[in-house]
Amino acid sequence: MGVLASSHATAQPALCSALPNPVFIQVGSTLLPLLRQMARKLRDSTLDPMTVVFTDGRSCAMIDAIRSGTPLVGNLSYAPSTAEDPTWTPDRPLVTCTTGPGGVPLQMIHSDVFVESCTSEPLPPGIGVFTGPVLPFVFVTSPGSSQQAITAEEAYFAFGFGQVGSAAPWVDESFLFARPNTSGTKITFGANIGVPANRWKGAQLEKTTDVVNAVAASVSPEATLGIVGGSDYDGNRDKLKALAFRAFGQRYAFFPDSTPSAFDKRNVRDGHYLIWAPAVFLVAGADAAGVPAEPRIARLRAILRSEVPIPEAGFEATRMMVEGGFVPECAMGVKRTGQAGRLQLNRPGRPCGCFFEKVTGGSPSCAACTDDSMCEGGICNLGFCEANPQ
């Protein structure tokens, strides 16, 4: 169980189960920044306040835990309400609570990878699955490198063979920076280049920040190659250089964005950039359709799927996702149903591509609107006219 918080109080932490309307979840590191923001908003909600009590974990371990009904035990974290700490911001330490010796039920987990990447066993009854926003992943090198792109074949030889792979300039294994075998980031890259996580050469660094720092400080820029989440790259563009990626069967290499300096994730959204995966959520107490019976978990599900893009005034959940480096499903033109699975066209019920482009600094040609009647047969979503998917 990861360490996320430092207690505000010096006294014994509160019992997690005694907090107002608690929900107990465990998430991968890629979702933590977004969850910190959402947890504060949900705690302050005037419609349905809840305390999101959480900790972090590795994808496959969390999937095992919710499959087996393993409770969360130990110290967990939550965001203070505005009434409790009006100066708190998401980059500050969370508050600690304790589960007590018996633990608390694990109600939802987030995984960077599909269940099938961790186990071939079917899910037990009552465990539901849904997907949320998409997160791209990026091969990065040192800003001092002259390299602009990497092909899937080059990555296969670099990370699958190491030095003997002769995939110049990525032949010195001490400058290949990856993650532990259970990392969702590594599993996602591995699925895209054909190298299972347990077969990788190079250094295995514990955290994404370790990879960022190792790549940024490399003394051999040309030989340096690392793997990070797209949001980690976007937040460290001054320290890292993204490499365009050419997938198996693809003619050209592409960046996640339409240009190296853009933030529009256009190539993720339209299928030209292949290294991405949707956030996968497993919930306990779900019906046959995977919908959680617990109303607050169901509300979280709707928010994470952008079915409620603005849950209430002052809580622009979908904007938070976009600004956090995610691509909401409603902005995706393609989808996949397995790790590095083949792409299919995606037709979201309420598209939000125009909103996405606006938030990421683009100049969408879509008309502004306040309701569907302004959209000439289209639909108005998040302030912009979008094509009607019907």
Partner: protein, 93 residues
């Protein structure tokens, strides 16, 4: 994911087709060359010899990843000594 790249590359036709195909798809300023093109390299883009330059109305996986776009695209054709003569990947060690 298999470890075998599915490609049908015909070395004898490679030089000629590479020259023909690229202008059809690269007449925009968004294409940059990462390295000098080595047309004899065995690991160029799959099906470049037979497929269209790009797909205007993509529907399948292969069409989506090779759809026409004005996004920056990078042409790369590295020399990989361990690639098999037929362009497929050897198994991992």
């Amino acid at each position: 994911m298999t470890t075998t790249s599915k490609r049908r590359w015909i070395p004898g036709l490679l030089v000629a087709t590479w020259v023909m195909v690229l202008p059809a798809c690269d007449d925009d300023p968004a294409t940059v060359s990462d390295t000098v093109v080595d047309a004899a390299a065995p690991n160029g883009p799959p099906d470049a010899a037979s497929g269209p330059a790009c797909f205007a109305n993509p529907a399948t996986h292969a069409e989506l990843i090779n759809a026409c776009t004005d996004a920056v695209k990078i042409e790369k054709n590295p020399t990989l000594p361990l690639l098999r003569p037929d362009g497929t990947l050897p198994p991992l060690p």
